[in-house]
Amino acid sequence: MKNRIFFKMLAVFVIVIGVTAVLFDVMLGRAWEASLRSQIERDLTQKTLLFAHRVGTDKTHSLSEIAAQEGQAAGARATIIDANGNVLADSEAVPSSMENHANRAEFAAALSGKTGSNERRSATLGIPFLYVAAPISGGAVRLAYPLSEIDAVQTEVRRRLLWGSLVAFLIALLIAASWSVWTARRLERIVDVAAHIERGDLRARVNAAPLDEIGRVAAAIDKTAGQIERSFAAVRSSQRQLETLLNSMQDAVIAISADGLVRWANQPMDQLVPQRTRLNAPVVETIRDPDFLATVKAATSSKEVRTARATSIVPGRAFDVTAAPLPEGGVVAVLRDLTETERVEKTRRDFIANVSHELRTPLTSIRALTEILLDDPEIEQRKKFLGIITKESERLTRLINQVLDLSKIESGKAEWQATNVDMTAVISDTVAAMSQVFQERHIEVKVKAPDRVSPVAVDVDRIIQVMLNLLSNAAKFCESGKGRIEIALSEQARNLRVDVRDNGPGIDPKDQAIIFDKFRQVGDTLTDKPHGSGLGLHISRRIVEHFGGRLWVESSRGRGACFSFTLPTGAGA
């Protein structure tokens, strides 16, 4: 079975060579025989003509002697007859005992003046003879050549031809067989490589020498395999790129077939659902959100991109679902987690609402009091109202500046020039700037600071802003008349530390974290409620952190609060 082509080729060769040999044998034998006969006939005719000539010219010998001599010379039987067909002399028999020869075909032709020949079995000897007769004056001569010798020669020639053919046949067969083996092997190799390629082994090659058509077929297969291998590699590479890309996405991606089975999912999708996506399982087993499933169904049937908001894929999280139909049926769905986006959006909306609230509040007093003063310019509270208007205007200005500061900090565009700053000077300057407020509220202020501290590399205006924020907060919460603020400056390893301690109501531990948030403030009905924007501490913390420090609070209810911040000293670096 394996060498079917070999046996087929071999069978064809055997038939072709055999038929050729047989035909060759037969034709050669025939041609040789015909040529031999015509040669003998020509020879015999020549001799017969010489015999006839001698009978006409030789007067010294008797007819019998001439017949005997010519017969011997020609290796044939010589016969002379007269015009009537009576035998006058014969090389092998007594003429008188021989019948009339006039009706023999060759003699009949000779007696009519032509050379005649005939081949037949001799009546006397019973073997085949070739007879040639030629005319002479008053009769004819004839030579009879026994063909039995030709037959013997012919048999020998045939025997040799047969042997020769047989040897040639065997040699040809051997060559044909070995060529068949070689060709069959080459074809087998091609079949083998084709089978490898069929099984997916695209690296298989025939690597045949391009000798002939088989070699060219092999080369073509190799070339095709090479092209397929390259295209496969390209497809795989782009598939890997796509997979990497899809897996590195933040959005979850899932491919669903037209009959609703999960075909593929990226890693974020796997992480989204706790039991992981199961391939070739119905998508409803992975994602049970009705909005999601409806969107996928709509995209599948309409062949159009559909979007929806799904909230029950993962409890507490909202997803933006985009389902796009695939050309070959089914859909690819992208799930974008909106939780963070919505949180950012909510923060932004809250911020705007808070800013607008904080702007509207002082504007309310300003507008109302201004309108009152326009209506009744001479009222006794006139001065008080104008004072409030001024204070509220300052509050508006402060708020706008803080919002601008915050916007710069958050966009990273704050252009702060760090210079070497002496914190001792900053503290004494800010305390001096606040002295009027402290006096008005009867607040006692103490500063404890070493004579010299290492400078810190900060923007001096920003650090003054932080100090003023902490001092005004402390002043705001101090009980009027009994208030005390202690400011301490100390140098620790590579850090300056500033503490601002008040003896106000203190801050509940649960509130201590939120006071640094934007627009968060803690009110207290027992004291004057704070009228800050809720941005001051947040901005102060951002400033301190910008320069590599920390800002925090330590406090407990009823025991005052201590706000502290650190700044790294340039010397320690």
Partner: protein, 123 residues
């Protein structure tokens, strides 16, 4: 007898302005600085109208409004919400809580006093 109005707002300067406006309009004025105090003052004085700031410490204006509307004997008290938050959602929330009017800060003093007079005259 002049009608009683309770101002519940934690912004002292706004209270100053409102107090002046309402006294000039001929009303008896009481003041509360937070939600709880507002409820106590309503209990003590039973005013004809309450001006409620929405964002107050301890108890929001919405909450005070709801609690007041739970008391049948306070049904007649007019409630005016005052807020610097003027979005539709907040206005609706205030009206849903039982307020008769929602005034967004800042406001025109003339229009404001006209609205207050209108509310108290219609009774």
């Amino acid at each position: 007898m002049s009608k009683k109005i309770l101002i519940a707002d934690d912004e002292p300067n706004i209270v100053v302005a409102l107090e002046y406006l309402l006294r000039r309009g001929g009303y008896e004025v009481h003041i509360a600085r937070n939600g709880d105090e507002a409820l106590r003052q309503v209990e003590a004085h039973v005013p004809d109208l309450v001006l409620l700031d929405v964002m107050m410490p301890q108890r929001s204006g919405y909450d005070v409004c709801k609690r007041m509307r739970e008391r049948p004997d306070w049904r007649h008290i007019k409630i005016v919400m005052l807020s610097a938050k003027g979005r539709d959602a907040e206005v609706n929330r205030g009206l849903a809580a039982g307020a008769d009017l929602y005034v967004t800060k800042p406001f025109s003093t003339r229009e404001f006093i006209e609205k207050i007079n209108g509310l108290l005259d219609s009774r």
